[in-house]
Amino acid sequence: MKVIAAMSGGVDSAVAAARAVDAGHDVTGVHLALSRNPKSYRSGARGCCSIEDANDARRAADVLGIPFYVWDMSDEFADEVVEDFIAEYTAGRTPNPCLRCNEKIKFAAVLDRALALGFDAVATGHYAQLRTDDDGMIEMHRAVDHGKDQSYVLGVLTQHQLAHSLFPLGDTTKDIVRLEAAARDLAVAKKPDSHDICFISDGDNAGWLTEKLGPKPGDIVDETGKVLAAHDGAYAFTIGQRRGLKLGIPADDGKPRFVLDIEPVSGTVTVGPREMLTVDYIEAIKPLWCGAVPTDALECSVQLRAHGEEHRAVVRVSTSSTSEGGSTSESGLTGAGSDTVTIELLEPASGIAPGQAAVIYAGTRVVGSATIARTERRTNIAALA
């Protein structure tokens, strides 16, 4: 196959590209320039956007003996990822920009361009496994290395996208990948992993958002509505956050308090005890399915944040009466749109932020994903505890 290897300049994508070459594919390395001015988003040494990373990717391609180009995806990235990130925070939600980038950039804009240019697939260094079932459907499973598994941020991919994706690292643990990089003389073998959001240079999301959006003062109140403090912008907070609340006065019971709710219009941030973060019912919207849409109540597990734990759950899909089937694609398999997903958590979860993705698993297999819109606690806490 003719394969585009998306090369970030990190060790994972370099080894993934190397494995694609070993597999006999005709591989072309591509580094995505996501910021038109490489210094505007990020000035640190790590992350997707620095000139140093482009250079590291280029050197890895040199070692592999593959052609290498930089593709300018900065307009798409600004429109689809950065704008969305800002809009979501403005609306009081907590987006996952990596997931959004996979959905809209790497496996959409990049994949579409690759296919049009005559390539067959895009290979990345994500940790996830693809298998084809007996009916020819492509299944995505968690990586062998559960600690590095990235199926959560890939849960938005459809059959079409999966059919043109290669994840050569899914069967390997990270330490082996590093050893392999060293054995292949790839200079990035010891390069540290990146953790921060790539367009926020110092990892200070709240500071970055404040700079972009300007101060928008509001109150911090307790669960009874009593004003405890003021803040400069609700987007500095996320559900479940404990640190950095700067409340001054401790709670009556002396226990730590957590962000329970963010009201986007007034900017009111509600804090309270840990127990009140616990939820057992979630409504999620805009579902995307890796395969068939579940028709009955599905006993499964859900993951509610990146690197979060799994929770056993029962998932039900309710098709909106207005959708009239218009939300199904030509394959009839991957619906997105006005469907709603309800998730009944058999194991309650804590600190679940609207805007995050709920990714639904059957064993290690990704069934689909949806965006968390609303959470609630239906059983009383005592019963849960």
């Binding site: 490489p38 482009a54 593959i66 052609p67 930089v70 900065s74 240019l117 005559g118």
Partner: protein
């Protein structure tokens, strides 16, 4: 990927292959020891090679040997010319802070000029161009005459590196000299393709570089009138009229001279041959992609455009996608514009000519040179239909998403 393949090289404006004779001279000289500043026999021998090279290059460019300052190449020559002239002119008269330059200069000139504005108090004054990429001489005249005593220097390239459009240097010089203003011209792309006569041009300074005419990368020259005062960028051993310190590269300079000698000797024949190849190329492009737009001055000749550059806009395509697809088939060309971290930026030259951002991104620069044959052009034309189709589809996919 490591098998050797016959590359079709259509990027001679970026750099052109060294002629074998220059490689031979360079290898021979590199095997010899001798610092041209040393007083012993080896030093004198090295110095002799440098001076003979200087005399030859001066002769071929219509300059006096003492007017040839060797340095590392076009970027250094342009920096020395514009910064050196600015500092020296401002030093003599602090009221002369204005630098007039054209909107289509290479970054090796644009960037030092904007640096002077940012750090040295220069007032910069950009001359616009027409749709063919030629400066609007009346605008330049108006700009100069609005306040001639405030002008430190004027710089206008001889031929543009993306379009090949040749600039009205004689007219620029006439306007400037009426007010005693020095003029520099970056003639990097023109050397080897059109006659250059430094004395006859009236220029005060002119940039040339070896690797665009069959010599090695890493050596060039700034031609400077003997009486011109330019503040040095580099200080040290006082080589090159004390304006460019640093041990000079005898081997590179000797190879530069050899390449210059051959380029000038073969210029008329080469240019005529390349002009015919270009015509064949453009006929083919028009036949295969009828809506392709050939940019720049259509008229050939030393007052119009270089014979070797064809700059083409393919509507609905992105230049960098086409570049990649051609590259995969061993055909090498350029989008013509500068890169930032490997990302092609829309060309400031095309934007200055009034093109849209989209049109500027949808262009390729095909530049021919001494090694090209009709078979090279035919190989490009054979690959073009499929490349065009795919690049067009990719752009649709992009704008449609």
């Amino acid at each position: 990927m490591n098998e050797t393949r016959d590359t079709v090289y259509l990027d001679h404006a970026a750099t052109t292959p060294m002629v074998p004779e220059a490689i031979e001279v360079m290898a021979r000289e590199m095997a010899r020891t001798g610092n041209a500043s040393s007083l012993h026999t080896s030093g004198r021998t090295a110095r002799r090679t440098v001076e003979e090279s200087r005399e030859l290059i001066a002769d071929r460019l219509g300059a006096r040997p003492s007017e040839v300052v060797f340095l590392s190449g076009g970027t250094e020559a342009n920096n020395l010319a514009i910064k050196g002239l600015y500092w020296s002119r401002v030093g003599a008269d602090p009221g002369r802070r204005r630098v007039i330059f054209s909107s289509i200069e290479h970054h090796a000139l644009l960037d030092p000029v904007t640096w002077l504005a940012k750090h040295e108090g220069a007032v910069i004054d950009m001359t616009p161009v027409d749709r063919l990429g030629r400066i609007l001489i009346d605008d330049l005249r108006t700009s100069v005459e609005s306040d001639p005593t405030s002008v430190a220097a004027i710089t206008t390239m001889w031929a543009n590196n993306e379009l090949g459009t040749i600039q009205p240097i004689a007219e620029v010089v006439a306007i400037a000299h009426a007010h005693g203003i020095p003029v520099h011209s970056d003639a990097v792309q023109a050397a080897g393709y059109v006659p250059l006569d430094f004395a006859a041009s009236g220029l005060d300074a002119m940039t040339v570089t070896a690797h665009k005419l069959g010599g090695p990368v890493g050596v060039g020259a700034l031609l400077m009138k003997r009486e011109l005062d330019a503040t040095p960028l580099l200080h040290g051993g006082g080589q090159e009229r004390d304006v460019r310190s640093g041990t000079i590269s005898v081997a590179a300079i000797a190879a530069f001279a050899k390449a210059m000698d051959l380029a000038v000797a073969r210029r008329d024949e080469t240019s005529a041959r390349i002009e015919r190849l270009r015509a064949h190329l453009i006929d083919g492009i028009r036949r295969i992609v009828p809506d392709a737009i050939i940019n720049g001055d259509p008229e050939p000749g030393a007052d119009h455009r270089l014979p070797n550059i064809a700059h083409v806009t393919f509507p609905g395509c992105e230049g960098d996608a086409m570049l990649m697809l051609f590259d995969a088939q061993g055909i090498e060309c350029s989008t013509g514009s500068a890169c930032t971290a490997g990302v092609p930026q829309p060309s400031h030259v095309l934007l200055a000519m009034g093109y849209s951002d989209v049109a500027a991104r949808g262009s390729l620069r095909l530049s021919l040179g001494h090694t090209n044959t009709r078979a090279d052009v035919d190989a490009f034309l054979a690959a073009l239909p499929a490349v065009h189709e795919r690049a067009f589809a990719a752009n649709l996919a992009r704008s449609g998403s």
